[in-house]
């Protein structure tokens, strides 16, 4: 019975992304005390995480980052207003926010990986400015957001710029479409900033996230998409779920923190039904 209730709770959380206890109480028609008991149990087991505080407390699946705000910003048809805490209007603002990544060492991000995390994010974010100055569609700058959930650090950098294909095709007309362009950007030394001798940044990014255990990256620009690394497929599933009409570029990176480097595979992101792995976790809890 308990297993069934917890499975129902998890299913609701998975469908809605984040829920308040009162919503669960109304949906399941059980007492507040029971709801809190189940939520406490699931939280202690690391299956769900608490977001917010006080009467704004919500519960979300651990290991599933929340990209609602950035997807609204990037998917908006006309110039959206983004929060100043996320949108870096100039390169200087973006650069000034990079040191904030140091704080994730407290969440278990290994200190020897921190330099790669910062340098990799730096390359991706600087690309937004290098290739879109004077070319922004409407809002200048990039969205720069980082979250830790389920012992993993997620970094999302997105812009409403011209996109990789339009940046490259002016000097590389042989690139047939957006997919060919994004592949070339990540896999060959190529740049739209001809005649400058550039084009190694995304190779560096790809190499770092492909060779670091528990790392992954996915990028969407127009209809082009790529993913690399152990967690790359997971990143592209998540991007595909949230971003429908990327006319600029969205990049999602994942770095694994501490003990989780050797842990079992993370909770898969499924679009329908309760994932088998979550159900197993709930049953494990009951059996203990």
């Amino acid at each position: 019975m308990k297993t069934e209730t917890r499975a129902q709770i998890l299913k609701i959380i998975q469908e809605k992304g984040k829920v308040r206890p009162i919503e669960l109480r109304k949906s399941l028609n059980i007492s507040a005390q029971m709801i809190h008991r189940h939520l406490r149990n699931l939280t202690e087991r690391g299956i769900v995480e608490i977001k917010g505080a006080g009467r704004f407390t919500q519960y979300a699946l651990a290991g599933v980052p929340d990209w609602e705000a950035v997807s609204s910003w990037i998917n908006a048809r006309t110039a959206p207003e983004g929060p100043e805490s996320m949108v870096c209007e100039t390169r200087e603002v973006f650069t000034a926010r990079l040191p904030h990544l140091k704080s994730f060492v407290r969440n278990g991000l290994p200190e020897n990986i921190l330099p790669l995390v910062i340098a990799t994010a730096g390359e991706v974010g600087n690309n937004s400015f290098d290739h879109n100055l004077g070319q922004w569609r409407d809002v200048p700058g990039c969205w720069f957001e980082s979250q830790v959930t389920g012992k993993q650090l997620w970094i999302c950098i997105a812009d409403r710029g011209q996109g990789i294909y339009h940046s490259l095709v002016k000097v590389h007309p042989e690139l047939a479409n957006e997919q060919v362009a994004i592949n070339a950007a990540f896999e060959t030394i190529i740049s739209g900033r001809s005649p400058e001798n550039r084009g190694n940044g995304l190779k560096y990014v790809k190499n770092n996230l492909s060779t670091t255990p528990g790392g992954g990256i996915a990028c969407i620009s127009g209809t082009g998409r790529v993913f690399y690394g152990e967690q790359g497929e997971r990143c592209i599933v998540l991007l595909g779920k949230h971003f429908s009409n990327v006319r600029g570029t969205v990049t999602l990176m994942i770095w694994t923190c501490g003990d989780e480097l050797n842990a079992a595979a993370p909770v898969p992101l499924t679009t329908g039904g309760l994932s088998r792995q979550i159900l197993h976790k709930v049953r494990d809890v009951e059996e203990e």
Binding site: R91, P115, L116, A119, T120, D130, N200, G201, Y204, N207
Partner: protein, 92 residues
Amino acid sequence: MKIEVKKFGEILTSRPAGREAGLSMKAYFKPEPGDRIELDFSGVLAMGPSWLDEVLSVLRNEYGNERVICLPSENASVTASLKIIEKQDDKK
């Protein structure tokens, strides 16, 4: 002549910042004829290939490839940057 790269910042990622650092090195560090310039990355927290590429372009244009040396580093972002720049130089 050794240049302590950390004096240009602990996080070194952008091309404009790299170019500015390279020009500053060229202006204020004057090696004796035949002397080498050694870039020492101790104390740098994170460095990307874009920043380093700009610095090396300025210095190597001025002093040639043989006189500009990158000292080994244990920092993962530095070693990965050096590796990709070496690969890029091989293709030139």
